[in-house]
Amino acid sequence: MSTSELRRIGTMLTVLGLLGLVVVYWLSFFWVSTEASQGVAQRIFYVHVPAAWTAFLGFGIAALASGMYLWLRDERFDRTALCAAEGGMVFATIMITTGPLWGRIAWGTYWTREPRLTLTLLMWFIFLGYFLVRRSSENPEKGKRYAAVTAIMGALLIPFIHVSVLWFRSLHPQPVVLRTDGGPALPGDMLTLLLTSLGVFTMLFVGLFMLRYALEGLRNDITLRTRKVIV
């Protein structure tokens, strides 16, 4: 796919995603039924859960692409990892801000020692390291390798971080859609809205990712051309 094509499709998906976001907001405020035990606060669920899904999608792609980059040394994998990590960072920030807001009302506390909360927070910091390493390397090639190593190490040790925090009793709601015993446990309209929202967030992520990827490509081109001019 050429850069201009990427930009066109990326812009389209981003605009569609943003429009979809408006629809999701409208639906979650006015259309969907109020949850019986948690009341209105539960409506943040339709932003929180899709943001969480997208964040882990982004971080997952970043870790995989980092591994591919170290293996094949193809610039495109590094670019993919960088752009996916940035997307993951944005959605993870949404997840960690919406979560405590809901927790304050539902649990009575903003933060608790809980597996999923801790995991996300540490993931956020691991990828902060990922960007810092990239940025503070004088030689860009080195920075790419360092960043890839950081992402892979994070991905490898995440299961341990998860298991270690399981020590503490979990307050976090258990999965309601993908469950091991039978199908989804959500009422129809809630499930519809959640799935719509998941679709919208994913579309927004892919759109932003494509735009960012195209931008990184342009930046590369410019660097190459200036280098040629100087030589």
Binding site: L70, V133, R145, Y146, I152, M153, S164
Partner: protein, 226 residues
């Protein structure tokens, strides 16, 4: 002895010799550990809480901070005069270099960890006689996990402009399991609970250390490529 093990041994001895000739890191870490222990003991209001109850967490944080101080400078001396290029040009595989280095770092940090335990036992009046072997094992596994992560990311951070200031940001998030399992095990043992109660956590800590060492050995070659 196979060639690979001999190569690891050569790197290990080289690092250890370097350290024991200068004693820079050893003295810095030991002084840091003792001083931190003393300061920690004065931060606690002993009229309200028993120091022994919070000692486990403080022991692990002292080891982590002291470790960052010492392990972060693993490549400092070698980078200064380009000696590390020589190590990389030798026919020793990169993972053997890494394993040799973490063994040397491990020995260093383990000595400090034991010193930390001693300092806290002394200052906080801890009762460790009944569980001293389990405590030493836990400290060993935690130190091993720490040096595996610390050495890998010391190589990363020493190659950046930010240098050692970057190391904690890279290492601390990954150290959470060490702090949790190490802290839980040490806390229980210091409270006089039987070893059987914490055996599961010790095993998990060991598994974490092994994975960290293996992953570090695999990834190290990508860090020191040129």
């Amino acid at each position: 002895m196979s060639l690979y093990l001999r190569q690891i041994k050569v790197i290990f001895w080289k690092d250890l010799l370097l350290e024991f000739r200068t004693k820079e890191r050893l003295i810095a870490m030991a002084a840091f550990a003792v001083l931190t222990g003393i300061l920690f003991s004065y931060t606690l209001d002993t009229t309200r809480l028993r120091p022994a109850d919070v000692a486990a967490g403080l022991i692990w944080m002292t080891i982590v901070f002291g470790g960052l101080l010492g392990v972060g400078r693993t490549f400092h001396l070698e980078n200064q005069d380009g000696a590390f290029q020589g190590v990389l040009m030798s026919p020793v595989p990169r993972d053997a270099v890494f394993l040799g280095k973490i063994l040397a770092n491990f020995l260093l940090l383990y000595m400090i960890a034991i010193l930390v335990l001693g300092v806290f036992t002394f200052l906080f009046a801890l009762e460790i006689r009944s569980s001293v072997w389990a405590l030493l094992l836990t400290l060993a596994l935690g130190s091993l996990a720490f040096v595996a992560l610390g050495t890998l990311f010391a190589a990363v951070s020493s190659g950046t402009r930010m240098g050692e200031t970057l190391l904690p940001i890279l290492v601390l998030p990954l150290l959470l399991p060490v702090v949790i399992w190490g802290g839980v095990v040490t806390g229980r043992l210091l409270a006089g609970r039987p070893v059987s109660e914490v055996l599961g956590s010790i095993r998990l800590l060991g598994a974490f250390a092994l994975v960290a060492v293996a992953a570090g050995a695999l990834l190290f070659r990508f860090v020191v490529e040129d």
